[in-house]
């Protein structure tokens, strides 16, 4: 594409990033006739939830499970509403529900599935005096879900304590919520606790029959069919301002593309960094929570090894430490996902186990190549040691393994220090200090696959369509 040609083009909106938030935002804009361009640094869409090929296997980058499973097919359910906004048939996602998952702490395990009554029963068995409080918590959160979990800057632990008086149970309940969506160390915001509790425990977990790729294909097709344009391998290196408003972006190959507004899913800090004229006048505390994930391909079904859960959240000590660890990876807690143990319509073709732990981003990003490779081997082993304490060992059955570190996440998302859930303080309305520059994605508020899409749609609706 010649630069002259580019300068002639002017878009209504340029979206930075073809992750789930960018794709969803793009579909809305293109559908309602805005001339839209998504610019993606990578050669593939999906961001943190993309896919790749290694060792002869098709592997997903991030996907454990999709939250917000709509088991009753309610039209008012968040996923159903989201798909209506995107004009995609919910059934086309081919979501297959989890079987049974588990939260394991020393001496106590709680199992759960996509029916919250089952978890309630489990709690009644292990913590009989907590049952009534737990039921009140569920009612309360269902009520909150009706007004969209409006922002209330308060402690999530404090909120849970109103209903769960047993501190051990509180740790067990907050552990999965934090792993699947908390940007903050130690505590989690009140709204996020409620939102994640609703998404994980009340609605529940599923996986797409054909992996994340099928969902990305669906979104991309919908976007392009609506007239949206996508440029991959195209990085925005600068957001250009004129009289205090965005006038266009500059690409890695030094081309100027003009536009009336920019939506950025690059992260708030990262966005201000490429928009230097404004300076960083919103003081942002960057997030520090990052993860490492091991992917194991096995020669046997986990079921044949008596591993029958869909997902296991574990913690080896009595308190759950959700914080940046001093060591490269903290194997005292983790999430183990068995993608094969979901109720698929057709059998899966590969046997896989994925293990996620909290990791120290600085260590992995600063390590030189030699140390990086060696540390990956070492921590694979330490992780497997820890995991075999809480479930049958599958070490002998591994035929291929790979590990994602914060360094990989940084490469995939562009997020400084490879944080997964962004900065702890969110910008729910998407507004920045520049009037036509908006934030979507992780730093806007909602996280996860469904959350990122909902956030993208909400910012577009609020800021660019009405």
């Amino acid at each position: 594409m010649s630069s002259n040609w580019c300068a002639l083009l002017k878009y209504d909106v340029i979206i930075i990033g073809a992750g789930l938030s960018g794709l969803a935002a793009g579909i809305r804009l293109a559908h309602f006739g805005k001339k839209t361009l998504i610019m993606e640094r990578h050669y593939r869409v999906g961001g943190l939830n993309s896919f790749y090929r290694a060792g002869g296997y098709d592997l997903d980058v991030g996907l454990h499970a999709v939250t917000n499973f709509n088991s009753k097919g309610l039209k008012s359910a968040p996923l159903s509403r989201l798909m209506r906004r995107l004009r995609i048939k919910e059934d086309d996602l081919e979501l297959c529900p989890q079987k049974e998952s588990r939260i394991t702490f020393p001496n106590v395990s709680l199992n759960f599935n996509n029916d919250i009554r089952f978890l309630t029963q489990q709690i009644e068995e292990s913590f009989p005096d907590q049952r009534d409080g737990f039921i009140r918590l569920i009612d309360n959160i269902i009520r909150m879900s009706k007004d969209g979990f409006l922002q209330k800057a308060d402690s999530g632990r404090k909120f849970l304590k109103r209903f769960i008086t047993d501190p051990y149970l509180l740790e067990m309940i907050i552990c999965p919520l934090m792993f699947y969506g908390n940007a903050r160390e130690h505590d989690m915001d009140h709204d996020f606790v409620a939102l994640m509790f609703f998404s994980l425990f009340i609605e529940g977990l599923s996986r797409p029959q054909k992996g994340i790729r099928a969902i990305l294909d669906l979104l991309l097709k919908r976007y392009e069919d609506s007239g949206g344009e996508l440029q991959t391998q195209s990085e925005v290196v600068k957001i250009k301002l004129k009289d205090g408003s965005v006038s266009g972006v500059i690409t890695g190959s030094d081309e100027l593309i003009e536009c009336d507004a920019v939506l950025s899913s690059a992260g708030i800090d990262e966005t201000y960094n490429i928009c230097r004229e404004v300076g960083n006048n919103k003081l942002i505390t960057p997030g520090v929570m990052s993860f490492a994930e091991s992917i194991y391909i096995l020669d046997k079904k986990p079921l044949e090894l008596s591993i029958d859960h869909s997902i296991i959240f574990y913690n080896r000590s009595t308190t759950f430490k959700y914080q940046k660890p001093l060591e490269p990876i903290n194997v005292d807690s983790g999430v183990i996902c068995m993608p094969g143990n979901f109720t698929y319509n057709e059998p899966q073709t590969k046997e896989e186990i994925r293990v996620t732990h909290i990791a120290n981003p600085n260590y992995w990003i600063d390590a030189d190549q030699g140390e990086y490779t060696n540390s990956k081997m070492l921590w694979h082993d330490r992780s497997l040691d820890a995991v075999s304490e809480i479930m049958p060992s599958f070490r002998e059955n591994i035929v291929y393994r790979d590990m994602f570190t914060p360094k990989t996440i940084k490469r995939f998302t562009g997020h400084t220090s490879g944080v997964v859930y962004g900065a702890p303080d969110k910008i729910r309305d998407g507004m920045t200090s520049v009037n036509n520059l908006y934030i979507i994605g992780t730093d806007q508020g909602f996280v996860g696959i469904v959350g990122a899409m909902i956030g993208g749609v909400e910012v577009v609706n609020r800021q660019l369509l009405v």
């Binding site: 309602f32 039209k75 008012s76 509403r81 209506r84 004009r87 048939k89 609706n461 369509l465």
Partner: protein, 83 residues
Amino acid sequence: MTRESIKAAIIEIINEIVPDEDLSDLDHQKPLRDQIDLDSMDFLDIVMELRKKYRIEVPEEDYDELSTMNSTIDYLLPKMESL
């Protein structure tokens, strides 16, 4: 456009937004939202589709006019007659 063709246009829009609703026996006197599972965002989408397809602006203060099929047609007729 005639009342009939405006009605068909509205049905087509609702059908795109909620494809699996049966719209064949809507009561034109009764509020649409009592008969079809439409939330406020769906409603907004109807307004935006009208803008996209027919370049009709429905200001927020007029949203109440779109409550039943008949009131919607009444409201849109002067705006769409000449199309």
